[in-house]
């Protein structure tokens, strides 16, 4: 029952037997073992229960609720909502706005994710060189990644302001035309730059990976006369590939749920979606518009479920296509 049965076996009143038989000793030693296992099992569920309960209540239940709503016309106000089966899904497939928003979100993901990984990797290689004040450079390059979205959005709005922004100031100084950065079609590039601004995140994580790359590998490559680029491509990148895979998946998920388009838009109504320029009207913005501007909870829930399934598929595909490429440097001694 209690663990103190383990050590003081000998002191326990053993039934008055002077010399316990082998069998008796064995069973006395085994009994607490069995209850130990049961205790460990119970303890496991005791310890993990906050997450299990929270996951059921705050993730599974809302998702199931959304799935149910997606089959209805529920709008939170009208009492006459009804069950429409797959009606919302049919409408969604026939809505060109949905397809455009999905296309933009896809384009944003396949541009922003690789670009920020390349930028982060380049920064990591740069600050991994033996330079003076290396720590300071690392800190300063990483700093933008901790700036909260609201601060970042405002900074970029001011920086790219068509009239008084520094970017157009520099461009006109260099003899280029000023650009309406915060409107269609250019605002999508501003959005992209806000992502690149946070590349310090990838930098820090890749840097930890770079420092794990065994020195001998680099030395062997140098002796073999490999160029710096070749070494990078054939040694550094493969060894970093698990990190890069992780960054690809988390980057994709971050790109799907970014609210930066909202923060870059002019201040509008409370939910702000109506002021988001067309080219930044990503899938999530479409969901917001349906949810808040129009209160179409049923239709918006269908949009969310479609997104959820698409993310599952995309993650699955990423893992499938990288399974042969990603290189796990398993240290045999570290194996347990």
């Amino acid at each position: 029952m209690t663990v103190d049965q383990i050590s003081p076996v000998a002191d326990r009143p053993g039934g008055g037997r002077a010399a316990p038989s082998d069998a008796g000793r064995a069973s006395a030693a085994r009994r607490p073992r069995v209850s130990m296992t049961a205790r460990r099992h119970r303890a496991f569920y005791l310890f993990t229960s906050p997450w299990i309960i929270g996951f059921l209540l705050l993730t599974v239940a809302p998702m199931v609720y959304a799935l149910w709503l997606s089959f209805t016309t529920f709008d939170g106000i009208s009492p006459n909502w009804k069950y429409v089966g797959l009606g919302n899904y049919r409408e969604l497939l026939n809505d060109p706005v949905t397809w455009d928003a999905l296309g933009r979100a896809g384009l944003f993901a396949i541009t922003s994710v690789p670009l920020s990984i390349i930028a982060g990797l380049a920064l990591a290689v740069l600050v991994n060189r033996p330079v003076k004040a290396r720590g300071l450079f690392r800190t300063l390059l990483y700093l933008p990644a901790v700036v909260p979205p609201v601060g970042a959005g405002l900074a970029f709005k001011l920086l790219f302001d068509p009239n008084s922004g520094a970017t157009n100031g520099v461009m006109t100084f260099l003899g280029f035309e000023a650009i309406g950065w915060l409107a269609d079609p250019y605002v999508r590039y501003v959005l992209l730059m806000t992502v690149l601004w946070g590349a310090g995140n990838v930098m820090i994580i890749s840097l930890a990976g770079l420092q794990d790359v065994p020195r001998e590998l680099h030395e062997a490559a140098r002796i073999d006369g490999a160029s710096a680029w070749r070494t990078f491509r054939s040694i550094t990148v493969p060894l970093l590939s698990p990190v890069l895979l992780f960054q690809t998946v988390t980057g994709m998920i971050a790109s799907v749920q970014t609210i930066m388009p909202l923060l870059l838009a002019p201040l509008g109504d409370t939910s702000g979606v109506t002021t988001v320029p067309q080219s930044n009207y990503l899938y999530m913005m479409h969901v917001f518009a349906q949810y808040f501007a129009l209160g179409r909870y049923g239709y918006a829930s269908a949009l969310l479920w479609v997104l959820f399934v698409l993310i599952l598929i995309a993650t699955g595909l990423i893992f499938k296509f990288t399974s042969g490429v990603v290189f796990y440097n398993v240290d045999p001694e570290a194996k347990k």
Binding site: V3, F47, L143, L158, V287
Partner: protein, 288 residues
């Protein structure tokens, strides 16, 4: 070895190395400048007059630094009140989620039971689920049970542990020596006291990393408070974004800029102070 190979071409090599270094430092300094640019521009904007901020060829530097913008940002809206709301929510969530994630992480690292593998798989998979997908229906449920415009949602989120942080703690606890708990079991300790008395006191680095990460998330979160809280109970993030408008509804950009500098700087300071643990935490969780 390097001396023998480098000797014949000693001088050109040295010159080449020097130009290489020069290029390296130039790139490094200009990239760093580019990265600091947006924040620098934000600070500068907070020191301009409204006229200078609207000037059509850009007005690079303010004629006189309008330091009073930073004071005015406090009076235009109830800045301190919003900051207090942000602080309450962030402290509440960060404390609860750190403890609950450590608790759950201990379970996954140190205990086992049938179904553990499946549960751990679900935990990892749930990290792939965008929060935004669950947030919107969760909001409807919270509205139904009357938790909108209260801080209860953050308490519940805090109590139910965050997968990312659970993973962080699991990785850390799994690396601690087995003898630690064996000795304690022999002494008659239950797992609860093993966790509280033995594992937690040795985990300050992860605890603080987790606390800072969670605090930063909550302080930076815009969408959950925007959805769940009314205008006077909301957080600084929402207030900075939406409240700096005149009676006519036109934005007051110089005060907004000043306010957002004051909103961002605490996070930057926390990061700079706790940098080492923060970065270590980020990279362990990212690698494995």
């Amino acid at each position: 070895m390097t001396a023998t190979t480098a000797a014949p071409a000693d001088i050109p090599v040295r010159v080449r190395v020097r130009t290489k270094r020069l290029v390296l430092y130039t790139v490094l300094v200009s990239v760093t400048g580019l990265f600091l640019g947006p924040f620098g521009w934000l600070v500068l904007s907070g020191l301009k007059t409204q006229g200078e901020l609207a000037a059509s060829p850009v007005h690079w530097l303010p004629d006189t630094f309008q330091w009073h913008n930073f004071a005015d940002a406090f009076t235009q809206i109830d800045f301190l009140g919003y900051a207090r709301n942000s602080l309450i929510i962030a402290l509440l969530y960060a404390t609860l989620v750190t403890l609950s994630s450590a608790w759950v992480g201990f379970g996954f690292a140190r205990l086992d039971a049938p179904g553990k593998k499946v549960l751990f798989g679900i935990l990892l998979a749930s990290m792939m689920l965008p929060q935004m997908v669950t947030l919107l229906p969760t909001y409807l449920i919270f509205a139904k049970v009357g938790m909108v415009d209260t801080y209860w949602p953050w308490v519940l989120w805090g109590l139910s542990a965050a997968p990312y942080l659970v993973f962080l703690f699991r990785q850390f606890f799994a690396g601690m020596p087995r003898e630690l708990e064996e000795a304690a079991i022999v002494d008659g300790c239950g797992y609860t006291s093993i966790f509280w008395r033995i594992f937690l006191p040795q985990s300050w680095s992860v605890l603080s990393a987790s606390f800072i990460i969670a605090f930063t998330w909550t302080w930076g979160d815009y969408i959950a408070p925007q959805l769940l809280l009314s205008t006077d109970r909301t957080t600084l993030a929402v207030a900075v974004m939406t409240a700096y408008v005149n009676d006519g509804g036109t934005p007051v950009p110089e005060l907004q800029a000043a306010a957002s500098v004051m909103y961002v700087v605490p996070i930057l300071l926390i990061f700079l102070i706790a940098q080492r643990g923060f970065v270590a935490g980020m990279s362990t969780s990212g690698l494995k």
